[in-house]
């Protein structure tokens, strides 16, 4: 079970489905995958990625749109992290509270 992979794939699919423009295109996703692979192998790189994600990504040829940032969370042995996209629906059901 590769939960993390599942989650990122889902997130990627989600964004492309909704046509969000500020999300990496498929080709950049390839570069992104390489960066993630590198973070698996090099502890130093991993630390850099966590402490200054935007700069480190840019150095690797993955430029994020201006004003858009990204945070890396390290999986731990006892926690499953599931990233979810921003809310885009209607918040009106608040009346019922």
């Amino acid at each position: 079970m590769d939960l993390w992979k599942t989650v990122t794939e889902v997130l990627g699919d989600y964004y492309s489905e909704f046509g969000r423009t500020n999300i990496p295109k498929p080709k950049s996703r390839e570069i992104f995958q390489k960066i993630l692979d590198k973070a698996q192998k090099s502890l130093n790189f991993r630390k850099k990625l966590i402490s200054s994600p935007v700069e480190t990504l840019a150095q690797q040829g993955f430029k994020l749109p201006r004003g858009f940032s990204l945070k890396f969370i390290e999986e731990t042995k006892d926690t499953i992290f599931i990233p979810i996209p921003p809310f885009i629906g209607d918040k009106n059901p608040k009346e019922s509270e």
Binding site: T6, V10, Q40, K77
Partner: protein, 162 residues
């Protein structure tokens, strides 16, 4: 964890406000309701991305993965228990309860047991003692060489039938 199911949950959480709130507050319960099985010792945390910031989860490094406890699989058929994987201080907890109350002859088929630690040995010793006192027998079958070696080195081959 199936991709399709998770995708449905995530998509619903982007448009259904109440569902999203509940997913964030009690992720484990929601995932279980949706049919996922989550080990009790694992926490589940939802990371909410915003329009201009999104979260990416870095998986455990290869080294950490190796250090992670490997699960033990077991099936019980009549009086034969088939064990697959590793039997160590962590995985022994999975089966301890089941066998502490065992009251008949039993055999453990270890053909797919790849590793046993001292915690595993003491588990077998305990079960053996308990059954022996009640007049029952415990057998160990199909030990792999590496596993068998651990038994022999500890002198356990004189106590157990292997």
């Amino acid at each position: 964890m199936s991709k399709e199911k998770l995708q449905k949950i995530i998509q619903r959480a982007t448009t259904d406000f109440d569902y999203r709130k509940r997913l964030i507050q009690e992720p484990r319960e929601v995932l279980i309701d949706e049919g996922f099985s989550i080990p009790p010792e694992k926490k589940v945390v939802i990371l909410e991305s915003t329009d201009d910031m999104f979260y990416v989860v870095l998986p455990l490094s290869e080294k950490d993965k190796k250090a992670m406890p490997q699960p033990l699989e077991y099936t019980i058929e009549d009086d034969v228990v088939y064990l697959k994987g590793r039997l160590d201080s962590y995985t022994v907890e999975q089966i301890r309860e089941t066998f502490l109350g065992w009251e008949k002859d039993i055999s453990f088929d270890l053909k797919d047991l790849t590793y046993i630690s001292s915690a595993g040995l003491s588990f077998f010793l305990r079960i053996h003692k308990q059954l022996d006192q009640a007049g029952h027998k415990m057998g160990l079958l199909n030990l792999q060489p590496a596993v068998k070696n651990v038994f022999v080195l500890g002198g356990f081959d004189k106590i157990f039938k292997i």
